[in-house]
Amino acid sequence: MSTRTDTNASAVLAESFEGDLRRYLRGLGGLLVFLLVWWVGAMTTHPSYLVPGPLESVRAFLDLFATSTAITVPVLASRLVLPTGFAHLAQTLFHYVPGLLLGAGCGISLGLAMGWNGSLDDWLRPLVRVLRPVPPLAWVVFAIVWFGIHHTGAAFIVFVGAFWINFYGAYGGVEGVSSDLTDAASTLGVERDLSMLKLVALPSAAPQVLTGFRTSIGRCWMIVVGAELFGAPGVGYEIINASNNLAMATSVAYMFLISLAFLCMDVGFRLLEGRVLAWR
């Protein structure tokens, strides 16, 4: 962001390029320092499994794709053979994706309904106040007794996490719809409440709804790993599993994998968001 009044466009462009380059170099420097500290730390720690070194971890990461693992696809109940890293990532996605989408769908729907309808808001607000502070992972006990700690149980926990973040995104978005816009729409022939919601409230709330969803993508990764620590199959479970065998480098490798998976989803969703919200 530049507040300069310099009108020489090419100079401004060159400067912003220089600024970008400087930022990248600094970022790279930070990473290198971290790697160095990590490497020295790993070298000097005994026993060596306490801190697996960077090289060892990268090797473990590559190993994830050198072997294959067979997994069962839920619902279809068919077997699928994939490189081990992808296989466990797929297992995680089997409960992450349905939990996220269903939780977001329900959360957005209820958020819109409560933000739009005053009496529904009156009815449910105290309930929301009470249920909201319960951390999603606290539901793990019910996930276990209701669904068993497998895909369905883990999906349920992800659902709870996605639900609240998306609920508040939609709720706040609809509450913030400007009365000028609804007035303008009324004078232009919008009569029914549902039309107003669709034509004015929803597009107006879209930025906050999408921000809520993007936040829930990240939050649900944290939750899903937590759920898997209790035994649902997937990358989170593999982190524990590897550490039980003192293969700490493999644990680190799965941490990389989660980080990469999240990055891909986040970047992908930001691109989508940018296109949908081009009007902002």
């Binding site: 400007s178 007035d183 303008a184 004078t187 232009l188 022939g189 081009a278 009007w279």
Partner: protein
């Protein structure tokens, strides 16, 4: 573009809007107290007054966006019960839908089931042409200047071909030069469409430039103090004696020499 009217071409001197003894209070303030006013079909009527005199409340009541506590408002003989496509409204802060392009904003009122235009695309093109926004059809509101935004606001209000155009300080947020140009354009449009216009402003110069009649309102409680007919030929020269006289008389009526033009 002519108003689809089967009446004679001359503007009949009958009331299009009749406001009778309208009152409106908000908590402790009496925004409107026993206001009566009638606006003739095809008339350009400006309402001026200090802030808090209820001029915007009055406009919103005509639009059907505000429900008065007492009295009645008739439009074309029928009582106002809510907003309708027969009354178009232009807002002070534009109130454009930011997620819709210029074309999408103008088109908004044409997409309602109550509105049946035979060729909506042609109508949108016609309006874009009318307000001089050719080349900006696909721009979003954030890409437009204040003057251009209000052109979109006017075209959007005109789209369903309302009989009445209600304007709430529409040019209050644009710079003086643009405002002068918008005045001329608005008068052109009004001449073409023969609509009844109620235009709220606190700028006396603006009122005298535009109006057939200026209604002066007083504050606390909001009442109609007096009305002035402006029978100066258009376009009006702001430095002409007639113009200056009218402005001086209205300013005196308002009793606020501090409220000079902007």
């Amino acid at each position: 573009m002519a108003l689809s009217s089967d009446s004679s071409t001359s503007r009949e001197a009958r009331a299009k809007i009749t406001i009778q003894n309208v009152s409106r209070s908000y908590e402790s303030t009496r925004a409107l107290a026993d206001v009566s006013l009638s606006v003739t079909e095809g008339e350009f009527c400006c309402v001026v007054g200090p802030s808090g005199c209820g001029k915007t409340t009055l406009l919103r009541a005509i639009a059907g966006l505000d429900d008065p506590d007492g009295g009645s408002i008739l439009v074309g003989g029928d009582p106002v019960t809510g907003p309708g496509l027969d009354r178009g409204m232009v807002f002070q802060e534009y109130a454009l839908f930011p997620w819709r392009t210029v074309r999408g904003n103008i088109r908004f009122g044409l997409d309602r089931p109550a509105c049946d235009c035979p060729d909506c695309e042609a109508r949108v093109r016609e309006l874009i042409d009318l307000v001089g926004l050719d080349g900006f059809e696909d721009a979003y509101p954030k890409e437009l200047s204040g003057g251009m935004k209000q052109r979109v606001g006017i075209a959007r209000a005109l789209a369903p071909d309302p009989e009445i155009l209600l304007m709430d300080e529409p040019f209050g947020s644009v710079d003086a030069r643009t405002r002068g140009r918008l005045h001329a354009e608005l008068l052109d449009i009004w001449t073409q469409t023969e609509q009844t216009v109620v235009f709220v402003t606190h700028d006396i110069d603006e009122a005298v430039t535009l109006a057939d009649r200026v209604v002066v309102m007083g504050a606390d409680p909001g009442t109609v103090q007096s009305t002035f007919s402006i029978d100066i030929e258009r376009p009006r020269e702001r430095t002409s004696r007639d113009f200056v006289d009218h402005v001086a008389r209205i300013r005196e009526e308002l009793g606020s020499p501090a409220d000079t033009s902007h």
